[in-house]
Symmetry: C2
Subunit: 420 residues, 2 copies
């Protein structure tokens, strides 16, 4: 008898069922500015003062009362008395009197009374007098207080993953720290008698833990704090204990392996009968990744991931990522996506979402091409080594024809077409 799932649940259905039941809130902390890089903002950060904080020159020249230049021309310059010079970082000591001009550099505050700056090249200085050869309108050459940023302006939206310019913006406002979410934690357990830790001797029929390293790194890259709980054999009691303790400790718990239908679905089976299960599904319309089990337990998320690395990746990408970002209100990363032409037909089963690891090529004219890599059977690690793209074939199709244009996410630099 073939061991098949009686029913596969569509990916989007799993995601929405989980989202409607999760109750996760993250603690906030205040971290020094330079440690905020890569963290998620836990509150809107707004400007607390106007920038510029005062009217400033935006050109080098002379601050004037514009009225005093009204009739100035090349033939008949206005003649103003030169007042004390003002440099960037120095403040004009006294208001500008009628008939006066004061030297300013780009960025200098404009003294009280002045309302415009005449550019240096339209002036000449002689004997303590400034000859102004052009009339200026009020505001000319001046950046007004608050013109760039006004107190109250939004600088960093809650949920943003902080990039260098957010740090700079906060610094510009005198902030020394930023409010960020505590890194959400996730516990991870390897399940399986055949798994050996790298560095240990590899007995017959054993394989080195691959998916555990992959999953933990993947979660870390997303910004989670990962607690590895090592490995247990095919031992339901140990798996159950893990889930119970893990979900006490962290909002997310993952087992790896023990999900295939049949004798070896320990992890999935244990998940179903945990106390407090509010939602449970085993068998997702996702390829690879069909055997994953997903549960919401006490408002927290537990996933029994497949032991196969490419399948576990697909499960994280299709189910965990949207749940994670949406449940916590975090900004989803912007992914590099290119339009590529398929070099072979890519088959797909209708009703199932396929996530292919693919090889993306670029020709000399900047056009992209895409070729699927073997995903099933044994072509698993080579797909990880050679894959530089991810192609999602949605549920409503029987595949992609050769030569069709598809959107592919680049996860590495494209190869040259000649290297194919």
């Amino acid at each position: 008898m073939a061991r098949v799932f009686k029913r596969l649940t569509p990916v989007d259905r799993v995601v929405s069922e989980v989202l409607s039941r999760l109750r996760i809130s993250l603690a906030e902390e205040e971290v020094p500015l330079e440690e905020a890089l890569g963290r998620y903002a836990s509150r809107d950060v707004v400007a607390r003062m106007d920038i510029p904080s005062e009217d400033r020159a935006v050109v080098d020249g002379y601050a004037v009362r514009s009225k005093d230049t009204q009739l100035a021309s090349q033939a008949s310059p206005a003649v103003l008395r030169l007042a004390d010079r003002v440099l960037i970082g120095e403040y004009p000591s006294s208001p500008l009197k009628p008939g006066e001009a004061v030297e300013v550099s780009t960025g200098s505050p404009i003294p009280e009374g002045a309302d415009a700056v005449v550019m240096l090249e339209h002036t000449r200085v002689e004997g303590g007098m400034v000859y102004v050869y052009r009339s200026v309108a009020p505001g000319y050459g001046v950046s007004r207080r608050g013109e760039d940023v006004r107190a109250g302006d939004l600088l960093v939206r809650r949920g943003t993953r902080i990039r260098p310019w957010h740090v700079g913006l906060a610094a510009a406002q005198g902030y020394t720290s930023l409010p960020v979410y505590e890194e959400p934690c996730a516990t991870v357990l390897n399940v399986g008698d055949e798994i050996v830790e790298p560095g240990e001797p590899l007995g017959p029929g054993k394989i080195y833990d691959t998916t555990g390293y992959l999953v933990r790194s993947y979660l870390r890259e997303m910004g989670l704090r990962v607690l590895s709980r090592g490995r247990v054999g095919d031992d339901e009691e140990a798996i159950e204990r893990f889930y119970r303790e893990a979900l006490e400790e962290c909002p997310f718990a993952f087992t790896i392996g023990g999900t295939s239908v049949g004798r070896k679905d320990y992890s999935a089976r244990v998940l179903e009968r945990l106390e407090g299960v509010e939602y449970y599904v085993h068998g997702i319309a996702l390829k690879p990744g069909r055997p994953a089990a997903v549960a919401v337990v006490g408002g927290r998320l537990a996933m029994a991931l497949s032991g196969f690395p490419v399948a576990a990746l697909a499960e994280l990408q299709a189910v965990f990522e949207p749940v994670f970002y949406r449940a916590l209100g975090l900004e989803e990363p912007v992914r590099p996506v290119v339009q590529a032409r398929t070099l072979r037909r890519i088959p797909a089963t209708p009703g199932v979402r396929h996530i292919y690891r693919v090889r993306v090529y670029m020709d000399g004219r900047g056009s992209y091409y895409v070729e699927p890599l073997r995903l099933t059977g044994s072509g698993v690690l080579s797909a990880l080594a050679r894959g530089n793209g991810i192609l999602v074939v949605p549920e409503d199709t029987t595949g992609v024809e050769e030569g069709e244009l598809v959107e592919v996410e680049l996860i590495g630099p494209p190869a040259t077409l000649e290297s194919r």
Copy 2:
């Protein structure tokens, strides 16, 4: 008199002149697998063993000698003797004899003598005998040793920034550590009398350090170790001392501020007269970012960046990034680029590369639109706050017309067109 550069050097020229003179080599270190994430591989990492390490079943069923099933059919099954069961992680203790079948699960090693696996659904077991209803060819249902990965296959190329799957691949081969480059270091100094550290009182005419925070975060995000050397005033001796010491310590040294042409180009001027200068340029055909000065000193790179945040960003992006990745042979990050239609004309000066911070919108049908943000004068911080894209207008154009399609790099999620 307007203070202008007599000559602006094209960006690509600066990059190639610098690259031909840099002599930077990074130290290597061996770090535990899970700490290698985000680091750059310093050597090619190759497979040291075949995977699978032995012939394995890729379906659940019975391992057989294919010869024994030659004439099997639904009407006339082959009848084989059931030998000891083999599970994943257990090794077959003895070779399969002619006329025998042994139960295997997906992943189980195939015993010596067997050369195919009959799928469970084409068999029936009764009284210690296996009835095989289908003939199988040699190799059917079997993954051969080395079929996925062969010893010597390239897993991670030198210069790759290590992602989760690279960690997984190395683990699969039993590696416990990976060879990575030491994080290259960069020293950074703020120059300017008007700069105040966030948290300190902001006197009249002063501004909080913005560009320093921005630049240091940017370098850190690229994977550099950043040594901040604080701030000096407009003090040529202090700047010179900084450069001398910084270039002893690190392959990259940056000052921020003191580059504008005229009275206040301390940083640029100091750079030119440093001992051991092999290349020097002040004034780049880049907007913003024109006043940057770039020097190669004793095979190392020194840059006097503009004090304006958006200009410093453009200088890092246009000059430092290509130099950094190419000089060290590191993989350049793949950037998310979309085709977007301009909502306004975007002017450009021929012969100058323009780097615009832009706002990218998406309409309900997934089409992108782009609008430039004010870059010069005072619209500097708001461009950082509102910019979610970067548009590079190359040297060979006078601008981009309204409604033209351009390629834009997304640095944040696109806004909805309705929010415009």
